[in-house]
């Protein structure tokens, strides 16, 4: 019969990695809080977890945090949505039509390799500091992972399947809808994981540059007024959101397409 301690050790044994990771994170914050007992504390440049928590609570209670997050979420999702709607069909056609692939591949590679963030000042001039500018920055950063992954997904499709559909009288439309789309889905989701990171960069760049609200603007504003605790609260919020998005997509990949994680 399992006694109390052995249940605990069994739990630790089973979730060893999670326990170690959690302990390390807890230790990190504890050390951060404790170090100012030894080191002089200068609230202009550094803060401690207790103050961050207070700042976070303050931001949540005043509703500022949710307001900024909501403002940033709109261009983020609009841009990402546009990237899927445009990127996936373009990528699929590039994969299916060999010559179109040849023609567009170098162009897309150049765009993907170039730091498109560098166009942000221009886009801001063109489209203004509000929603359109930010959405277009997000879109231009997030579209390429979808293009390349949809293209790679189509190229990896078993040609036999395509031939079967055609032999049975399927048209090009059937090939796209019945074979290509389902088989590129895992690739698109893998692309989404990369695209989400780039889309976050897009939102932040747009808001660092020129904005009057949004989470990126909040971070720069708190930095400008040396409100380090609230700045850290915002940074940690962005980190948590980024982790939730990437790990959420990773989880979706694992549950929906377990065969792609055979290791």
């Amino acid at each position: 019969m399992a006694t109390q301690p052995s249940v605990l050790s069994g739990f630790i044994g089973r979730h060893r990695n999670a326990v170690l990771g959690g302990a390390a994170v807890a230790l990190f914050f504890a050390a951060w809080q404790a170090i100012f007992l030894v080191v002089p504390f200068n609230p202009l440049f550094i803060t401690k977890p207790s103050l961050i928590a207070a700042g976070l609570l303050d931001l949540v209670e005043s509703g500022d945090l949710f307001h900024d997050l909501a403002v940033s979420a709109v261009p983020f999702f609009l841009g990402l949505f546009g990237a899927v709607v445009i990127g996936v069909p373009v990528g699929m056609v590039m994969g299916r039509r060999v010559r179109i692939g040849y023609a567009l591949d170098p162009l897309m590679t150049v765009f993907y390799a170039s730091p498109l963030v560098a166009l942000a000042p221009l886009l801001v001039i063109f489209f203004g500091v509000g929603l359109p500018g930010k959405t277009i920055i997000v879109f231009s950063l997030a579209v390429f992972p979808f293009v390349f992954n949809a293209c790679a997904g189509v190229r990896a499709v078993d040609h036999l399947l395509v031939n079967v559909v055609r032999s049975l009288g399927g048209r090009e439309r059937d090939v796209y809808l019945k074979i290509l789309l389902p088989s590129v889905l895992p690739y698109i989701i893998a692309g989404a994981r990369i695209a989400v990171g780039r889309a976050l960069i897009g939102v932040l760049v747009g808001e660092f540059f020129a904005a009057s609200e949004g989470i990126g603007y909040a971070i720069t504003r708190f930095a400008d007024i040396f409100a380090v605790d609230r700045m850290f609260a915002c940074i940690l919020t962005v980190m948590v959101i980024a982790i939730a998005l990437t790990e959420g997509i990773r989880w979706a990949e694992r549950t929906a397409f377990p065969w792609r994680f055979g290791q």
Partner: protein, 282 residues
């Protein structure tokens, strides 16, 4: 990271048919690729002649010929070298620091399960978060200038290196490690003889990804907090509606990024070429 790598491999693998067809395909692909780029540039160049453009838009509209003229002028007068040098220094120092920190940490995490479990939350968190979010903080700590730039480059480049090294070390053949151990090798020998050669291709992929991140880091850092550098030149040009210079800067950044990743890709092919052959010899 690993997914990116496999996707790249699949992208590169065009259907291998007869050698004659292959070379014709290659010519066709180069011809079509060039044609598309030329066509795009032509349309862009000729667009103002066919489309009515408002005077307001004309202020920040440009055509490729003017961009290339600006680019030529920047190089011929030599006005480009000073800012480019500043950017290149931040890039090189940040990347070097990232390699110096990322490789040993990656090997450590790959070898020690406990360390990996403890540091994994931090690596995941920092890797998922756009490093840009730390820029205001870094500017507060390090001031506007070289060091906050280097820090951003470092933060961007270190994680692909660390993660890929870790992946390479973890994928090292356990049998080989056991063999070397059985002959009395120390942990250092194991690292030198088995792990390093095995993870080299992964590390090189990590370097390639890191270069892209590092360039991105230089650009954003110079956009928001720097006094000189190519990014600063671009932002100043944008705010005075000098669109040509913005595009010229973008072309320089993109060109450097393509050249460097291309060189690393060559190295990648070189370092992984012997792999299948050695497997066949075994």
């Amino acid at each position: 990271m690993a997914e990116m790598q496999t996707l790249d491999l699949e992208l590169g693998a065009t259907s291998g048919t007869l050698p004659g067809t292959a070379s014709r395909q290659r010519i066709e692909s180069i011809a079509l690729g060039t044609a598309a780029i030329v066509l795009l540039l032509l349309i862009w160049e000729l667009a103002p002649h066919f489309l009515p453009i408002k005077a307001g838009t004309r202020l920040f509209f440009t055509v490729p010929s003017r961009i290339f003229a600006t680019l030529w002028e920047m190089f011929s007068t030599g006005s480009i070298w000073a800012p480019l040098g500043v950017s290149a220094a931040a890039f090189a120092i940040g990347l070097a620091l990232a390699i110096a920190a990322g490789l040993p940490l990656g090997i450590l995490l790959g070898r020690s399960k406990t360390m990996n479990a403890m540091l994994d939350p931090f690596v995941t968190a920092f890797n998922a978060t756009p490093r840009l979010v730390f820029l205001p903080l870094l500017m507060l700590w390090l001031g506007i200038g070289m060091w906050s730039k280097i820090a951003i480059v470092f933060l961007g480049a270190v994680f692909p290196l660390l993660i890929n090294t870790h992946e390479g070390v973890r994928n090292a053949d356990k049998v080989l490690i056991n063999v070397v151990r059985s002959f009395g090798a120390s942990e250092w020998d194991v690292a030198r003889l088995v792990i390093l050669p095995n993870s080299l291709p992964f590390i090189v992929v990590g370097v390639r990804l890191a270069i892209g991140r590092a360039i991105l880091g230089v650009v954003v850092a110079e956009f928001f907090g720097a006094q000189d550098g190519l990014g600063v030149v671009m932002v100043r040009a944008a705010s005075s509606f000098n669109v040509d210079i913005v595009f010229a800067g973008l072309i320089i950044f993109a060109g450097l990024s393509l050249i460097m990743t291309g060189l690393v890709r060559l190295l990648e092919e070189r370092t992984s070429r012997w792999r299948p052959q050695r497997a066949a010899n075994e």
